[in-house]
Symmetry: C2
Subunit: 555 residues, 2 copies
């Protein structure tokens, strides 16, 4: 067998979320991250996407490969959220992460009725040996504490897995990027830097988290009612900033919303959030305090339908009533596709006369967790890799990253722009593109936490755009002829269209069936005939393609 | 009858589009604008919204009021697009607009098989007397030429209808805002300024169109293939900028896409666009020219599914093939809700290695047509109205406009924030809120150009999120009991959910029906019973609310 390393992204390239990457050395597989994807509004009624692991399963089941371990870079859902789904069908293997990441990941497993499986490593620990791989965690800054890059040593050379980061030189928790360790890795020579590229369109540097504290405190001071801040529940630093401002201004803090309460609890338990017990108020006790003395940290910054913030806004929250003197601060960027829901929340609040601050037009109340152009180029300059391969962004971001890499002196052939499922093969002499694995969309429904088949989504899309037509026909089993008129139900089309469909099919269907006489032996054929005839008629008449459900009743 | 004027917005307040405003003086009604609304992605399969004119129709049909005339402020779809739908059921009345606006509006009517009905007025013309109203058109700048404000004189006082504008001091066509006429209007005393408020969140001034010319030319110079620019078809100035750059660089121009070709034709005919015939290339002749000598002005800047740009990107355009040397410039802001489609277009182009420039992160290639804070305050300062009433924005924009008005010295009671359908009554002494008209959503389907009933949308939303369950039950007419098991079709739900529904309903439905014995007289009741039982069972079991279609077959 040839001595080579294969890099196979199962998710996270050409998209921002659903991060999962395989590093294969001969028969050994190292996995980095195991994240969820977020469905956009075209994926009706589905909320989450999983990486498609059929390629991995096949390799394991056939016995041709073995998973030697997994490392998680940080505690965001798009890097750890798929764990309960992905681990279940796989054999056991060790999983490593830094303290907060490991706490979030284990909490997730427990929530799904499994045991905690992620082992905690500290940034100072020795490299971990996993088969022929050796991995080290390098501290970087991002919008969640304990984020790390992974330096991966293999017999074929060294790789630097540089997922989500920015170089915040004054991070809120004062835990700075470990530049020394990056330089040390560079000295060992890096074959390829896999780099975050989400900020590649933004000029300059991303502002430090620190810059927000003053602005948040100022708004809190001016607010004469409840001060309500909403952000991602994992944005521990942002929550800490609000807590510090609250304590300075003598306000008490209340966490609202399941995900946020959970995250705050973990952060407090692990010492990432300091909050005097006397300063915390339970949701049920809010009524006992003057509005002016309260800060609410509320889940739902993406405008999610059933989130705490949406319920508060719509007057459906049992304990929390909004008042015109309150201020609501959205301290999070909208995930593309959520703009409508977020705008409509903001608008409802504005209509009630409430002061709403959102980060759309300024960096005063939210900064990105991803580095901008200067930081991405600095990463290249520090790591001095032979090749670069952008991850965690769309093709638009990758194209811009390529321009940055060119400015840093990388020639075209050293900048690897690939797609999900595209294997890249590194051997001692050269780099080549390997096989292309075809990846499917795996959907999860958030209510049932069950994987949704692809055809279900297709049906929903079709119905939602074009409506549905149910056709019930009674057919005489003896002679194959239709008895009476078909019974037709049309939904999702206008009344005028319905009556056209009714008229037309009542005329056409008996005719279509008439062609085939004699005893019915193949009921499937009759159903198919009805469906195809109806599809054609409706398309000719109305230029529509509703979902047709033929029901044949045997008489 | 009391001497009073009523302002009644039928659309355009609390929303950006669907502009239509009534000014009623006793029994006389003056209408300003008649625009379409754009559906967002929650309104499945519908593309357009119309203002609900039932209030107007009732007044006209009862003979209690008469429409004395209509004025159109500018040629954008959200101000003129509803004309063919709205005029049809109404009696004839005169309609006025400035030259380009009137050309666009008449083109629209002709397209719908009607006669041109809009009369052209010039900015220099005398005021037009319409019953007891006197109206004057005042030139302002916006993203389409010939945009105007309307000064409305009534026996109760004067009103300034200041819809969509910015104060571009160096407009591309050099036709500047007529500040003199605004000042003259102010001298007559203005009771209320109805003002555009869309830019109220943006600090400072909106940049001039002029600032873009240099950047567009620079990108065109550097492009080694086809230079493709996409913008709203009505953005005549932007198209002109591209044409001038093309002529300087010796490139030929080709218009691509039905809406854009139409707009360019009107603009050329009326002298708003100068293009040497020798410089224009028909789409069919594109193959005869070197890519480097071409500029394509293409429709589809919002990522619309069947637009020219989408077809070019997906390789489905017959004449135009995209090449990696091409540059594509998006020179338009995304309308909220279109981000996903636009991002996906940009991403597909980036993936092919094409240089894509979009205005998301910079004002170098697109500027808004709406004035920012300084301009909105300047408008107040120039018009010196007694009251202000923001229009053409969401409540978020209105709330910010209110802050600006306060800075300009307006007291709380002089800043009127209202909703669509809210009548404001102005009489000589005071201003008061009048009746609240309830307005429905009127949907138009773009394919059939037919109004879509509201329940159709509701059904589609329900089905798209929760699926559909068709239940066929054979019921014995003699004793009201179910014969055999119900036949159940489930769509849009997973297989696991389907089998649960099947199992549960097969058990529950016969039981539910059993309660009522004896000859069936009320089939509707049986259907209702089946529906409600099924809804309850399915919700208890799965926490879902699919659309239930019960079908009872009498045996």
């Amino acid at each position: 067998m040839q001595d080579k390393l294969s890099f196979v992204p199962l998710g996270g390239i050409g998209e921002v979320t659903k991060n999962m990457y395989l590093y294969e050395y001969n028969s050994q597989i190292l996995i980095i991250d195991c994240g969820l994807g977020f469905a956009d509004e075209t994926m009706l009624g589905v909320d989450l996407l999983l990486p498609d692991i059929s390629y991995l399963l096949k390799k394991i089941k056939s016995g041709s490969s073995k998973i030697v371990g997994m490392a998680l870079t940080h505690g965001h859902e798009d890097h750890i959220g798929a764990l309960p789904f992905v681990l279940e069908p796989l054999p056991k293997f060790p999983i490593y992460a830094t303290p907060l990441t490991s706490a979030f990941a284990n909490e997730k497993l427990v929530e799904f009725g499994e045991k905690p499986k992620v082992e905690t490593v500290d940034f100072g620990d020795d490299p971990i040996v996993l088969g022929d791989f050796k991995i080290s965690f390098i501290r970087v800054t991002h919008s969640i504490p304990d984020t790390s890059h992974i330096f991966i040593q293999t017999p074929v050379g060294n790789f630097y897995h540089g997922s989500d980061f920015k170089f915040d030189l004054t991070p809120f928790d004062n835990k700075k990027t470990d530049f020394d360790k990056i330089i040390d890795a560079a000295k060992e020579e890096i074959v390829c830097l896999m780099s975050d590229c989400l900020g590649a369109e933004k000029e300059g540097y991303t502002k430090s988290e620190q810059t927000l504290s003053k602005n948040i405190e100022q708004e809190m001071r001016e607010c004469e009612g409840k001060f309500i801040l909403t952000t991602y529940s994992s944005n521990i630093s942002r929550l800490n900033q609000a807590i510090i401002a609250a304590s300075r201004l003598g306000r008490k803090v209340c966490f609202v919303g399941r995900s946020l309460i959970k995250a705050a609890k973990i952060a407090q338990r692990m010492g990432y959030m300091e909050l005097d017990k006397k300063m915390e108020v339970e949701v049920g006790d809010i009524g006992k305090h003057n509005d002016k003395n309260l800060v609410l940290l509320v889940a739902g910054s993406q405008g999610q339908e059933n989130s705490a913030l949406a319920r508060i806004t719509n007057g459906e929250h049992r304990e929390i009533k909004i008042s015109p003197k309150d201020t609501v601060l959205f301290s999070a960027d909208p995930i593309p596709g959520n703009e409508i829901s977020i705008n409509s929340l903001i608008d409802s609040l504005s209509k009630m006369g409430i002061k709403v601050i959102h980060s759309k037009n300024s960096e005063s109340f939210h900064v990105s967790g991803h580095g901008a152009q200067q930081e991405l180029m600095l990463m290249m300059a520090l790591a001095r890799p032979k090749n670069v391969l952008p991850i965690g962004g769309t093709f638009t971001h990758m194209a811009r990253y390529k321009e940055l890499a060119k400015k840093q002196g990388f020639s075209e052939s050293k900048i690897l722009l690939i797609e999900d499922g595209q294997e890249v093969v590194f051997d001692k002499e050269k780099i080549s593109l390997g096989k292309k694995i075809s990846l499917g969309n795996v959907y999860v429904d958030e209510v049932s936490e069950e994987v949704v088949e692809h055809f279900v989504i297709r049906d929903r899309q079709k119905i939602s755009k074009e409506g549905v037509v149910v056709i019930m026909a009674e057919v005489d089993a003896g002679n194959g002829q239709m008895v009476g008129n078909p019974n037709i139900i049309v939904r999702g089309l206008s009344q005028a269209e319905s009556s056209i469909i009714n008229r037309r099919l009542t005329k056409e269907l008996p005719k279509a069936i008439r062609g085939r006489r004699g005893r019915v032996t193949d009921w499937v054929y009759i159903r198919k005939n009805i469906r195809e005839t109806s599809e054609r008629s409706i398309f000719i008449e109305l230029h529509r393609r509703p979902l047709i459900l033929p029901v044949v009743i045997e008489v």
